[in-house]
């Protein structure tokens, strides 16, 4: 008997939850805000679904009801990807250590 591929995906999912659990507990509390903005950015990897949807039209009609939703989703996810990573970068650049020579 063969195992349904769904079971493999479920295994990946469950194991990733555990990875997430341990990785996130090790995040220092002072970086919780960047954690939220970066998780925001990476969850926008949903854009891969949006791209498939956007390219689902055929050569005669690029726009059909399905691809339009795809294009909209691409824009929304892109806002998040660029916005999320850049704002995280901006925040992280501000976290500085005490300068030893500072008087």
């Amino acid at each position: 008997m063969e195992i349904d591929p769904f079971i493999f995906r479920l295994s990946i999912f469950i194991l990733s939850i555990f990875i997430g659990y341990y990785v996130v507990w090790s995040v220092t509390p002072s970086l919780h805000t960047p954690l939220m903005s970066v998780t925001n950015a990476i969850s926008s990897v949903i854009i891969v679904g949006a791209i498939i949807a956007g390219l689902s039209g055929n050569s005669e009609s690029v726009f059909n009801s399905s691809s339009v939703f795809g294009f909209l989703a691409i824009s929304l996810a892109a806002i998040n990807i660029f916005g999320g990573f850049l704002v995280t970068q901006r925040m992280l650049a501000m976290y500085k250590k005490k300068k030893k020579d500072k008087k």
Binding site: M36, T39, A41, I47, V48, L55, S66, L72, A78
Partner: protein, 465 residues
């Protein structure tokens, strides 16, 4: 065009890079590198998707146009947004993830062939279940985040909106969602799909309106978690490993943050979610409001106290964010340090409107992160400090949480500010904080109240130092 196996491996790599991105956040030094891993993972995922489809027809150019359009808007927002508005921004971003998940699900429902899920009206059962769960959670994330955004932005009142029969209504809607998904899967009817989406939007809205402003740290973390589960649901539909891994990571990350926030308030998750906190207690607090003596002072007195101190602990709260006082505060601290006074910052887990809110603001004002301490790290130091400077915080310093079992905040971990030799409390008036209870600290012998706007008071103190 690359093979399905090869692309699956690339998606796995991008999932691993996302794990490393979160791992990097364990310390500020490695965090910037972590963010680069995240960006790299995203680039790989997007490129592989293009290569897998391999159809660079006329649609491709539109994909790029919409991608760049969104990217420009996102980049613009990221550079313009002030740090004090970070909670609103994050809530807004969550709503976009939710809506994108909904759109992808709609698209897959309308054109399942493109996703290899069957044909319209005859979608594979498993995919349909995964798709409807993804769409439902996405819709809840969207409308919930919009409400959270409006509350944080002040467009909507931060006080809880409660009406009779609220909880039974919500329970009824949640049950109907389960029934709808079941019916949808057995009938494949597109009408049911639209009704399911509408009901999910509605429940997201109803779930968040009873939750008050200061509980927003929990709400934002919870919505963060939901956005992850929505992404995972879509990931199952698309059979995409990168999405499944990311969804699970983000989902558990948000859940942990919610847990930390609830623990910081000594309240159960359900107590927060059911909402209405602060609305009921307010009346009783006003009732027994007897006149108790309060010592109040001005910037001159405060400066005098601090000048004669050898160590000062600063306790910032949401009020500091509202008054945008973080830069003025840093200047005050610089002056103190010039006088060889030891200064550190004490941050309560739920200070501000989102996890880590105060830390970001202090970092923005160039406060080195090794001067900023969490509750457990610094709480014993209050007894040895000369002055505690409470700026914009209230409930998190209330000693009642340790002494009065009747109090709604009893058992909540608080900063032991009252153990300091003297306490300077910057506040606009004696009004109670979010929990609606009086702060005993106001009436202590060693407390000096400074009634003023946080920013103005800090600037005045600096002048007097």
């Amino acid at each position: 065009m690359i093979s399905a196996n090869l692309s699956a491996i690339f998606y796995l790599i991008s999932g691993v890079l996302f794990i490393l991105a979160l791992r990097g956040l364990s310390s500020p030094e490695t965090s910037r590198q972590g963010n680069l891993f995240g960006i790299l993972g995203m680039i790989i995922a997007i490129t592989v998707t293009f290569l897998t489809i391999g159809n660079f027809s006329s649609g491709f150019i539109y994909v790029l146009i919409f991608l760049l359009l969104g990217g420009l808007v996102g980049a613009f927002i990221a550079y313009k947004i002030p740090m004090t508005a970070m909670p609103e921004l994050v809530a807004g971003f969550h709503s976009l993830v939710g809506l994108a998940a909904v759109f992808v699900a709609i698209s897959a429902f309308l054109n399942p062939d493109a996703f290899n899920l069957g044909s319209p009206g005859n979608i594979k059962l498993g995919s349909l279940i995964e798709m409807s769960i993804g769409a439902t959670v996405g819709a809840i994330t969207f409308s919930g985040s919009v409400i959270a955004f409006l509350k944080l932005q002040g467009i909507m009142s931060g006080s809880p909106i409660i009406f009779k029969g609220q909880h039974p209504l919500n329970a009824l809607i949640l049950i109907s969602i389960v029934v709808l998904i079941y019916l949808l899967c057995s009938s494949q009817s597109s009408n049911l799909f639209w009704i399911l989406l509408a009901v999910s939007f509605l429940i997201g809205f109803l779930l968040i309106i009873p939750i008050g402003g200061a509980d927003m740290p929990v709400v934002i973390s919870m919505l963060n978690s939901y956005s992850g589960w929505a992404a995972a649901g879509i990931g199952f539909t698309l059979e995409n490993t990168a999405l499944i891994i990311t969804g699970a990571l983000v989902g558990s990350s948000g859940a942990i943050l919610s847990y930390i926030m609830c623990k910081g308030m000594n309240r159960s998750f359900f107590n927060v979610i059911l909402g209405g906190f602060g609305a009921t207690e307010q009346s009783s607090a006003l009732k027994n409001k007897e006149q108790k003596p309060v010592k109040s002072g001005n910037a001159d007195d405060a400066a005098f106290l601090m000048k004669n101190a050898s160590s000062v602990i600063i306790v910032p709260g949401y009020g500091m964010a509202v008054a945008q006082a973080q830069h003025a505060l840093r200047e005050m601290v610089d002056t103190l340090k010039k006088n060889d006074i030891k200064v550190s910052y004490a941050i309560h887990p739920v200070a501000g409107r989102m996890p880590g809110h105060m830390n970001v603001l202090l970092a923005e004002a160039n406060v080195p992160y090794d001067e900023v301490f969490e509750l457990e790290e610094i709480n014993n130091d209050f007894a040895n400090a000369d002055v505690a400077f409470v700026i914009g915080a209230n409930d998190v310093t209330n000693p009642v949480a340790k002494t009065d079992p009747q109090s709604p905040i009893y058992g909540m971990p608080v900063l032991d500010v009252e153990k300091c030799k003297s306490v300077l409390f910057v506040k606009r008036s004696l009004s109670p904080g979010y929990a609606g209870i009086d702060n005993d600290l106001f009436y202590k012998e060693n407390t000096l109240m400074l009634f003023a706007d946080a920013k103005k008071m800090t600037e005045d103190i600096t002048k007097n130092l």
